[in-house]
């Protein structure tokens, strides 16, 4: 199934936190914040697609 989704999210999270650290070290706090925001938005888009999938499954199964 979509196990890769979880690994993908974890990888994005680790990458974003590393970028965040590097950018904060070089005194670019606002850029660090933007990276965090971009990471969260990208992951959120991925997760929302799956949530819609889940809700559609429930709807089809229980005859809404």
């Amino acid at each position: 199934m979509n196990v890769d989704l979880i690994f993908k999210i974890a990888a994005i999270g680790i990458l974003v936190s590393i970028l965040n650290m590097v950018l904060k070290q070089s005194n670019r706090d606002e850029m660090a914040m933007m990276t965090t925001l971009a990471g969260v938005v990208v992951v959120l888009l991925m997760v929302v697609k799956e949530i819609v999938n889940l809700f559609d499954t429930v709807k089809a199964l229980f005859g809404f």
């Binding site: 979880i6 999210i9 994005i12 999270g13 974003v16 936190s17 965090t36 999938n53 005859g63």
Partner: protein
């Protein structure tokens, strides 16, 4: 069936470990990780639940009970799943107030769905008396 259970259990443990690593630096991404695992597990489980529903529908038809009575029951079950899922997601994010509101809305909507059954029951009882 047991293969799916073992798979979900293993993925769950791995997800928990990843979430621990991630929540230290980025709690919001850790929450999304848990959410995506929940979605995945539920989709797998509900894909298997379709067979049970077919059996229930068949046996209700054989027993001669009105099939229309089953529809609200199934609807309420599905609504309960969706409500519980979103409540858990909000609680994971630490938003207990929003979770409580979703729960209240879910309860009201389930009650609205269940009212036709209750009225038909009252009608049957008053027909007997």
């Amino acid at each position: 069936m047991e293969a799916e259970l073992i798979r979900i259990a293993g993925i769950g443990i791995v997800t928990a470990l990843l979430a621990i690593v991630l929540s230290d630096k980025k709690p919001e991404l850790g929450m999304l990780l848990g959410l995506s695992f929940g979605v995945m597990a539920l989709v797998i489980a509900l894909g298997k639940a379709g067979a049970i529903l077919e059996v229930i529908k068949e046996s209700i038809e054989q027993a001669g009970i009105d099939g229309k009575l089953l529809v609200p029951v199934l609807k309420v079950t599905g609504m309960a799943y969706i409500t519980q899922f979103s409540v858990d997601a909000c609680k994971d994010a630490g938003q207990n107030a929003i979770a409580a509101k979703i729960e209240t809305v879910g309860k009201i909507m389930m009650m609205v769905t269940a009212v036709p059954i209750a009225t038909s029951l009252i009608r049957i009882i008053s027909g007997i008396l």
